[in-house]
């Protein structure tokens, strides 16, 4: 079960772009108005730094996953303890993505189809992939669909070009301030930084090392650029006021494509590649969760059996989230930005890196 660096690149891109393009924009635009794009640049740079720290940490232990090297750094029990937030996060992410996916599907495509069908079929597909193909299949599917995603995004950007009204971006900076802009960057950053799960994927690349790091940084950088384009396009199409109120502004922007009376309604294609992105993200999480839990309980070999536990648990969690229906903004701001971003994505990797290099020096 090996993936190439290029496959890793595509996996990260699909994982980052899909959900980010859809759900983070509204929150950011609402708080930072026409300066949202500055927030996105900031978020991109920060995400690169976070990714670099995680990749640095991983390349110290190129043959080990996060679960293994945290035990190597902090000892058996310390290592196990410190990865608990990650395992919780992964479970949590899956159910949140599925919830968002369901909301989106219900709003745009299937209005009456019961939630368990939408969720269940998606989990079924993910389960098939992870069980049948493992990481290799995920990597190849990303490689297969990644270029298609890029073509469709390029088409979208190209075909909506004549809707753009650049003065909408003005005035720059004056209406907001450094604090607002930085605050606005948190939402996209918290999702972009999910790339730290590379610590689970790193040892699976066929030559973990400098090239892998490069691919990872490239992927995060590239997704940030695409997101930047996305937010610029949304701002210039809808302006900050309308853009900050639409629930899925990017998707609404795609609906505006109107060329020669017949090239319109690109949204269905965008939705297709978006669903593939969601699928890739879910599969990666399903894989690392099963694999991580298997390593955590010390039975790496039988990770495939754990999928049969992880999938139903995810299903139940998702149904719970749907039934309880916490507002999406609260989850993003209250949970993701407040806890997951500082703890899982910054504190723990930095702490592990520090301890690891300290021990290394002492030796």
């Amino acid at each position: 079960m090996k993936i190439s660096n290029r496959q890793l690149f595509w996996m990260i891109i699909m994982m980052e772009i899909g959900i980010n393009l859809l759900i983070t924009m509204t929150a950011t635009i609402r708080s930072t108005k026409q300066d949202a794009w500055i927030s996105y640049i900031l978020a991109g740079i920060m995400a690169l730094v976070i990714t670099y720290i995680a990749a640095r940490l991983s390349s110290r232990y190129p043959k080990q996953t996060l679960i293994e090297f945290s035990a190597a750094i902090l000892g058996k029990w310390g290592g196990r303890l410190i990865v608990i937030p990650f395992i919780l996060q992964w479970f949590w992410v899956m159910s949140l993505i599925l919830r968002d996916e369901y909301l989106f599907i219900r709003l745009n495509v299937l209005y009456k189809t019961p939630d368990w069908i939408v969720i269940g079929t998606m989990i079924g597909v993910v389960l098939y992939t992870v069980y049948h193909g493992g990481l290799e299949a995920i990597g190849r599917v990303s490689e297969l669909w990644g270029p298609i995603l890029m073509i469709i995004l390029a088409l979208t950007f190209g075909l909506t070009f004549n809707n753009l009204n650049w003065p909408m971006l003005l005035p720059v900076y004056a209406d907001t301030g450094p604090a607002t802009i930085a605050g606005g960057a948190l939402a996209p950053l918290s999702l972009l930084s999910e790339a730290v799960l590379l610590m689970m994927l790193f040892p699976f690349t066929d030559h973990p090392g400098k090239e892998t790091r490069k691919a990872l940084l490239l992927a995060v950088g590239f997704s940030s650029v695409i997101l930047l384009f996305g937010v610029l396009w949304v701002l210039m199409t809808f302006g900050p006021a309308v853009g900050g109120r639409l629930q899925f502004p990017f998707f609404e922007m795609v609906k505006l494509v109107y060329l020669m009376e017949f090239i319109q309604n690109m949204d269905i294609f965008v939705m297709a590649v978006w669903l593939v992105c969601i699928f890739v993200k879910l599969s990666i999480h399903m894989f690392i969760t099963s694999y991580g839990v298997a390593q955590w309980i010390g039975k790496t070999r039988s990770w495939k059996k754990l999928i049969w536990v992880v999938a139903p648990v995810t299903f139940i969690l998702t149904m719970l989230v749907i039934k309880l229906n916490p507002p999406a903004g609260l989850l993003l701001k209250g949970v993701w930005v407040r806890y997951v971003l500082p703890i899982n994505m910054i504190a723990i990797p930095v702490f592990l890196l520090a301890v690891s290099s300290f021990r290394h020096k002492r030796r």
Partner: protein
């Protein structure tokens, strides 16, 4: 063991070949004494040659010969058949029986505990004809045929190199079918040949009737709808695959040779791609890719869009579709399923009909589907357009059995579209792509060189580059060296 007694030997042979009416016995009686008996299978040996090279020398020999010395007679007997190319001696009964069944002529002689076997096999075979299942506009016309040796000669004629290896083995407990594994030594990966050999040896069938028997036995995933071993009746296709480092399996009595491993893209490459000008070939290739996906997606897209996502169809189009569908009693999914069903039925009915009846089926089909059904208001006109377009598209596959895979997948996809609309289609496509990327016929990824990607091999996938630009073997097929030829300026 044979006995020196001729009558005893013949008796044993007759017992063995009881009720085999095609086994012929010819006695050479000289002076009322049976001196020798010839046994052969009628229709498998060259009668004229046997007359000239066996029978006549035999008579001469017995007439003139007087010596009784055992050893000398043996030598002498062998000598008299010198004009014949292949002559051997057998001492075992089983050996003799095998040889006779192969078509050789066995000569039993009085007083000798051995049999002379003259390989004067001449079976009825047709001449080399034009390939019927893979037509080309420009390219060689000859095709493989049933005779194994003719087929190997067709390969050898094209590759005059000693590194073309043709390993022979016999498969099938009862049929003893000869199978040849052909490969280019130095190009092919040795592991691949080893793997093919061992998989072939594992076959335990009573009989190999077609090469497809072998195909199903050595395939990696029998339950996949996709063919993982390509078959062709064109020697030029086989040869170009050999040069790409693939293995070709030739089976006796089958005009279709197997090429393995097959990749998805090789199923979409036609011979004409390489004879046309490369710009045009690239263009045609993209048309083919489009049609391939139309053949899979069009009916289900139509169903999904008209019954689930009406808002994405442009307004004027939706108005005209609505008008055309007015009064049609069936839901769109059922309509599509029925029409696809009828189309497949028509295709099936037409495919094996005698040539004289064929047009009748197509006329009935065209009339019934194209006209009456629409005029009666049972099926809508757009659906007929969709189905016929899909039908045409499903014939755009250069490799027939890849087309059948998509043709069959259309039905579950239609159901998925009917239940979950576009969401169902996307989920189905994801599952399909996962299945396709996890297929690894003989260790070569099915979607290679696209996923996993090997950028320099894309010159034969995304485009059809000029020959000088397609220098690279697939890395999964290559043995170390991946360049096929040195870089040239032109």
């Amino acid at each position: 063991m044979l006995s020196p007694d001729l009558a005893y030997n013949i008796e044993r042979m007759k017992l063995e070949f009881l009720n085999c009416s095609d086994i012929m016995y010819r006695n050479c009686s000289i002076g009322g004494l049976d001196r020798a008996t010839l046994i052969y299978v009628d229709g498998m040996c060259d009668v004229l040659a046997v007359d000239e090279f066996v029978l006549q020398p035999l008579f001469e020999h017995f007439r003139s010969s007087s010596r009784v010395d055992e050893e000398a007679r043996k030598v002498e007997l062998k000598d008299i058949f010198i004009p014949s190319l292949k002559i051997s001696m057998a001492y075992e009964t089983q050996q003799v029986i095998q040889a006779i069944l192969r078509g050789e002529t066995a000569v039993f002689t009085e007083g000798n505990a051995f049999v002379l076997l003259a390989d004067l096999v001449k079976m009825e075979k047709r001449a080399i004809e034009e390939a019927t299942s893979e037509k080309v506009v420009r390219g060689p016309r000859d095709a493989f045929m049933e005779s194994l040796r003719t087929n190997t000669s067709l390969l050898r004629r094209r590759i005059r190199s000693s590194s073309l290896k043709l390993e022979c083995m016999k498969l099938g407990r009862l049929t003893e079918t000869e199978v040849v594994i052909a490969y280019m030594e130095g190009v092919v990966k040795e592991d691949l040949v080893k793997e093919v050999r061992s998989r072939l040896q594992k076959i335990e069938l009573d009989g190999i009737i077609h090469s497809s028997n072998i195909e199903e036995y050595i395939e990696d995933n029998v339950f996949s709808p996709f063919p993982q071993i390509q078959n062709t009746e064109r020697p030029d296709v086989a040869v170009s695959s050999l040069l790409e480092g693939k293995v070709v399996i030739i089976t006796d009595n089958t005009p279709f040779v197997l090429i393995l491993p097959m990749t998805y893209w090789s199923g979409l490459q036609a011979v004409d791609d390489y004879t046309d000008r490369y710009i045009y070939a690239t263009f045609v290739r993209w048309i083919r890719y489009t049609f391939v996906h139309i053949s899979l997606l069009l009916p289900s897209l139509y169903v999904a869009l008209t019954t689930y996502h009406l808002q994405v169809i442009p307004t004027p189009l939706v108005v005209s579709i609505a008008s055309a569908r007015e009064g049609v009693p069936l839901p769109a999914v059922i309509e599509a399923l029925i029409m696809e069903f009828i189309f497949e039925g028509l295709r099936e009915a037409g495919i094996r009909l005698p040539q004289q009846v064929g047009p009748a089926v197509s006329i009935a089909g065209a009339l019934v589907i194209g006209q009456a059904v629409v005029a009666a208001g049972i099926i809508s006109t757009p659906m007929v357009i969709i189905v016929s377009l899909t039908g045409i598209a499903s014939f755009a596959f250069p490799v027939y059995n890849l087309g059948t895979a998509y043709r069959m997948l259309r039905f579950p996809l239609l159901v998925a579209a009917g239940v979950l609309g576009f969401y169902g289609i996307v989920l189905f496509l994801i599952v399909l792509s996962v299945h396709m990327v996890t297929l690894r016929p003989f260790g070569v990824p099915y979607m290679a060189p696209y996923a996993p990607m090997s950028i320099r091999n894309l010159s034969d996938v995304l485009v059809r580059a000029p020959k000088s630009k397609m220098r690279w073997l697939l890395p999964w097929l290559a043995q170390g060296r991946t360049a096929r030829f040195p870089k040239q300026t032109k």
